[in-house]
Symmetry: C2
Subunit: 319 residues, 2 copies
Amino acid sequence: MPIRLAPEFQYIHQYFKRLAGAGALDLADDAALLSIDPNYELVITADAMIEGVHFFPNDPTDLIARKLLRCNLSDLAGMGADPVGYLLTVSLPATCFNASWFEKFTDGLLQDQRFYNFSLLGGDTTKNPSHMVFSVTMTGKVIKNMALRRNNAKAGDGIWVTGTIGDSALGLLALQNKIVDKSGFLTRRYHLPQPRLGLNLNNIASAGMDISDGFIQDLGHLTRESHVGAVIYTHRIPLSNAAKALGPSYLETCLTGGDDYELLLTISPEREHAALMNSKKANITLTKIGYCTDQNQSIAFYDEQNNLVSFNKTGWSHI
Amino acid sequence: MPIRLAPEFQYIHQYFKRLAGAGALDLADDAALLSIDPNYELVITADAMIEGVHFFPNDPTDLIARKLLRCNLSDLAGMGADPVGYLLTVSLPATCFNASWFEKFTDGLLQDQRFYNFSLLGGDTTKNPSHMVFSVTMTGKVIKNMALRRNNAKAGDGIWVTGTIGDSALGLLALQNKIVDKSGFLTRRYHLPQPRLGLNLNNIASAGMDISDGFIQDLGHLTRESHVGAVIYTHRIPLSNAAKALGPSYLETCLTGGDDYELLLTISPEREHAALMNSKKANITLTKIGYCTDQNQSIAFYDEQNNLVSFNKTGWSHI
């Protein structure tokens, strides 16, 4: 669908046109066209981001744009897919309708399009009576029958995560002036997630998903879909130096806050070596933090002294 | 992507789950999977609908849902494609979070999914601080290289439209109490567009698109993309009896108001017969209202007495 604009807003078109790629038909037709190699499946996911819920009006405009893409790229990474292109609906208050806003916003989109190698397929721009609302539909591709799913973890598989957990939740606290983030590392992690594309574990992991609603809640999703339980060693959960520096009282925030965009994976013991080789190749840290049990949906956390740990909150929700 | 909900809103899940079809993976994974027959291309389009801009909070909830789908289906129809599935992001004020609202909304979606034969692939539900915002990404399929485009109309081709033009714009006036719509026909046309799927003109029309921003503005898009001009006979433009009854002073509203969701097609003279045969088969009226000229982007309107007609407004815009 073309991005439809009143004559006085035609200037906006140039900003979106430079984002359009193959299949977008120059954003001039009713829809985009995609051909998929018959050896691949199309992977498709949609996410909305609302001002005041998922981001704040004072966040830098280019980072709002890049986070919007990266949250959706993370969903592709969760299924082991590579990005193809995206559709974007942008709904803005009147104050955003100026060349400067659109330039910053589309500069951010373009930067990450180039970095991750995909392009704009289409979209829609509308005025919104009050605040910014964005919706991205991201498409990707994965070799047929090779998508990582949530429902195939087996008892005995190791439980692994990429990167470090909880930085983004702490970054949000820093932006709310509830903690101090001297180096800016945590805030940066909140503003600019790193979707873990290219890890190439489709043949290696038994199950996978991205962590976006808080580690504990997402682990709950995976164990429920796979009909397994989990034992997690809290001291093995990878935390950044900035998170560690805040002390153990922030562990619960790290494990229940949203917006990690790391991957949660299960890997059978005999595939661990292959997984670690691929993680090295992709330069993405992979840490084993526990294992799956046959205790359907029972999740137990243990600390270094092998004492049970319990948490009050379980996760962050989009509602 | 799964529809993520806090535990107290898990009841919503059941309403969306009954809408999910093949490829949606029960709305349990990070994304949906689609396989496309290698003889087809995937057609993909996105549209946002904002409360107070595209619909009103008092519109019946099931009709809001059905119009949301139908506007996007109309984009598929504009390219001669058939629906496959859709992703939906729903952003709602707190007042809508109750079983009754979700039941009505998803009842509407289900009704049209069944009628047009497609299903939900995924989506996202979030709270919105103030008002309802929906975004639909609709996917369809079309035989490779057979999609109707806007850029292939030739001088000499006839200009055709489906159905009747302007009813929806008049329906909006009726809802605003600016005109009287005794039979409710015009209001119905506003609330529930008829996407012109199944006309099967891919091999017959030279260009096509759906009319959503007002006939004159959309004709402008088609002539610009095709580098042609147009002569239109205003008395040949098909109007409903309800529209005719309002008299000639409403013609401009009919031709510039948005939300028609009829098709605008160009057809070479030697293909007219085939087009009319297919229109009869599909039970969709097709009316010839003018022809394309080689006067690039010049559009001229003539009345029954062959006098030039001019209009003040040119169309409705999403901004």
